[in-house]
């Protein structure tokens, strides 16, 4: 894919570690990365929903990102990092917390390098430094509500 000026279209992503998987979150959806966010469990919640947290005076649901994508948890999953991000379609987006194992770096990926595919919030895959990385669509998260 190219732009009107003949350049390759690129998007910026936050490379994260989630269990044994590496994933890329669209950077324009990421609001903050925080450590040790206190999460209050919610009785009756699915395993994907770790609970509720307070961020900047607002409530937000906190999700186990590894479970969202069906990733195998790491050897000692502690999820010390939470990505605060916008989820859902643009017209009804909401802030959520995504518990992950680590935020690695910001990367730029040509749009046409992404191989479409995957289920749920997985938009596709890309080869990054000779490793397969899942590319995530947060627009597809929680849009049913």
């Amino acid at each position: 894919m190219t732009t009107s000026r003949g350049e390759s279209a690129e998007d910026r992503y936050l490379l994260i570690q989630a269990g044994e998987e590496e994933c890329m979150l669209p950077l324009d959806r990421v609001r903050r990365i925080v450590r040790d966010l206190q999460v209050i469990p919610l009785p009756g919640a699915a395993q994907e929903l770790k609970g509720l947290a307070e961020f900047g005076g607002e409530p937000l649901p906190v999700l186990d990102f590894s479970r969202l994508i069906g990733a195998t948890p790491g050897a000692e999953p502690a999820y010390p990092v939470t990505v605060i991000a916008w989820a859902g379609p643009a017209e009804s987006r909401e802030l959520v917390g995504l518990q992950i194992d680590g935020a690695v770096e910001v990367v730029t990926i040509p749009t046409d390098a992404i191989v479409p595919g995957g289920e749920g919030i997985v938009r596709g895959d890309v080869s990054f430094r000779d490793r397969p990385v899942r590319v995530i669509s947060l627009a597809a998260l929680g849009g049913g509500g």
Binding site: A46, L49, L52, S92, G142, G145
Partner: protein, 114 residues
């Protein structure tokens, strides 16, 4: 976000809220409280009081998808996040089975105790 008048209560170790306009009566028993809502009766371990103008955010798609319960919204009180219940569809943990209500309380307008 909409400021609401919310009755705060504890149940199952957590902090919850219910819109005050939905509360009909509060009754205190030996082992907790019963709260009569519009067409529903719920149990609470503790009633903390009413907060005026508590900002309530809509329950978004993530909560709806992964909690599986209806909610009026989400709020934060003193840095603690909470669910504001849908008075017509409270979660199962608010069931009144086993709650003994013997003493009537008029504590709707109590100040929060924490």
């Amino acid at each position: 976000m909409t400021p609401e008048r919310v009755l705060l209560l504890r149940r199952g170790g957590g902090l919850w809220g219910v819109l005050h306009e939905a509360v009909r009566t509060v009754t205190r028993g030996r082992d907790g409280y019963r709260i009569w809502l519009r067409g529903q009766e719920i149990a609470a371990d503790e009633v903390l009081g009413v907060i005026e103008g508590l900002p309530v955010w809509p329950a978004g798609g993530a909560l709806t998808e992964f909690w599986g319960q209806r909610a009026r919204g989400l709020a934060v009180h003193r840095a603690t996040p909470l669910v504001v219940l849908d008075p017509e569809s409270p979660p199962a943990i608010f069931g009144t089975h086993g709650t003994d209500a013997t003493e009537t309380s008029d504590g709707h307008d109590d100040q929060p105790s924490h």
